[in-house]
């Protein structure tokens, strides 16, 4: 299933990666310009929109800044399209393999019930600025999982996609689990880490994106893993109460609004048997960053197709977990920021 692009696709993806690499000097200049344009970061506005206007305004005379804006915007718009294009080039060769992996193997995928629809905070949103959102292209799962992630992201952060996920999976308190739920399983990258860490556990994954889950199903079948995948919201899974001993998520929460995050923790609590463990991980908290770092993250989220990031990253997840009923709650770490807890006996 490994993606083997044709020359045009390969060279285009290389180009995008090298464009990012080649921006190093420009980025350095932007940092220098920022330091002189905003010498008193502490005096910046508390309101994040005002702060963005202040900093972007102060940077506007910087040529490096304007070019980094141009390149950033162009990459945001184009990376998904070039990934699709590179897929289309080899689609005919890949199709039989993908088809077989989706129809044959131990994994099972249950799409959303007919008549149900995706929630408003998700439907029609071009997350990561992916044209048409997660479910528009029939092979978006493959494109996102194998091309954008394994090829582009991995080239820029080698080992990063999996190393961090494995470390997180291995940090759960027990050596063995019986039944694990991965919330926001997407194309199965964290699910894979959970599976490898707890090879005897029954693994269940939920996600709103059918296209992503279809790819998770292929990944599971390719390895002979009997994942049960459901196209259902993490905040309302429909599973039996107390039917899991570990509920986990990797970088799901920044994609949902604050009230839904609370509902997700409440659902995790309901689903855990007494004594069961919860581990949720997400992006850096705004409370753990200085004003300029928050500005950077918040602007990146706005321009990077992340409508819920601000309110999500502003939440105190330890508090949310305690309010949901969890005991022994600990929240720590910069990226990912990890919150753990236990359902009391």
């Amino acid at each position: 299933m490994t993606f083997r692009p044709a020359q045009r696709g390969r060279a285009s993806l290389d180009f995008l990666v090298n464009l990012t690499r080649g921006m190093k000097a420009v980025r350095g200049q932007v940092e220098a310009d920022l330091a002189s344009a905003v010498p008193e970061a502490g005096a910046l506005a508390e309101d994040l929109d005002q702060r963005d206007a202040q900093v972007a305004g102060a940077l506007s005379p910087s040529g490096a800044w304007r070019v980094s804006e141009l390149v950033g915007e162009w990459q945001s718009r184009m990376h998904g399209l070039y990934a699709r294009e590179s897929f289309a080039e080899v689609e005919d060769d890949l199709a039989p393999v993908l088809e077989r992996l989706q129809s044959k193997g131990p994994a099972r995928l249950v799409p959303r019930a007919q008549g149900d629809s995706a929630p408003d905070y998700w439907r029609g949103v071009n997350f990561h600025r992916t044209a048409g959102g997660w479910d528009d292209h029939p092979m978006q799962g493959y494109i996102h999982g194998e091309i954008v992630h394994r090829r582009m992201v991995e080239a820029l952060f080698p080992g990063g996609i999996f190393r961090q996920r494995r470390a997180l999976a291995a940090s759960a308190p027990r050596a063995h689990y019986r039944r694990i739920l991965d919330m926001g399983a997407s194309t199965g990258h964290f699910t894979e880490a959970l599976q490898e860490t707890y090879p005897d556990a029954e693994i269940v994954g939920v996600d709103l994106s059918l296209r992503a889950l279809e790819h998770a199903e292929r990944v599971a079948n390719a390895h002979g893993w009997a994942w049960q995948l459901y196209q259902r919201p993490a905040e309302d899974t429909g599973f039996e109460s107390e039917s899991f001993d570990l509920v986990a998520s990797y970088i799901l929460l920044h994609e949902i609004p604050a009230d839904v995050i609370r509902a997700v923790f409440a659902e995790a609590f309901r689903l855990l048997e007494p004594g069961g463990d919860m581990i949720m991980s997400d992006v850096t908290r705004y409370a753990d960053m200085d004003k300029l770092a928050v500005w950077r993250a918040d602007r990146g989220a706005r321009l990077g197709g992340e409508p819920h990031w601000r309110e999500s990253a502003s939440l105190d997840l330890a508090r949310v977990a305690r309010e949901a009923g969890f005991a022994d709650v600990v929240a720590e770490g910069i990226y990912p920021h990890v919150v753990r807890g236990r359902k009391p006996q």
């Binding site: 020359q7 060279a11 285009s12 180009f15 995008l16 464009l19 141009l70 915007e73 399209l81």
Partner: protein, 93 residues
């Protein structure tokens, strides 16, 4: 008759300041196309060398047949469309 040479260099505004960001996009899209091509040339040269073939001279006087010409025309058109879409900001629409 007024001076017909006035028509030699008419003044015509084309892109406005607001288009500059788009021009930048188009330049980047063009750079990518150039890169794809450079990569392909390098591969081609390496392969030919592996097979002990030096075709530099032949390339200079190569005349495409109708089939190849049609293929080139198709690629040329796709290239132009890609650049124009970047300029107009309609990629992916």
């Amino acid at each position: 008759m007024s001076d017909p040479t006035r028509f030699n260099h008419p003044i015509r505004e084309t892109l406005a300041e607001a288009d500059v960001g788009r021009v930048g996009s188009a330049v980047l899209a063009l750079t990518r196309e150039l890169w794809v091509l450079s990569d392909r040339m390098a591969v081609m040269e390496a392969l030919l060398e592996r097979h002990g073939i030096d075709i530099g001279g032949e390339i200079e006087c190569f005349e495409p047949d109708a089939q190849m010409q049609a293929r080139l025309d198709q690629r040329g058109q796709a290239l132009v469309e890609g650049i124009l879409a970047a300029l107009a900001g309609t990629e992916g629409d």
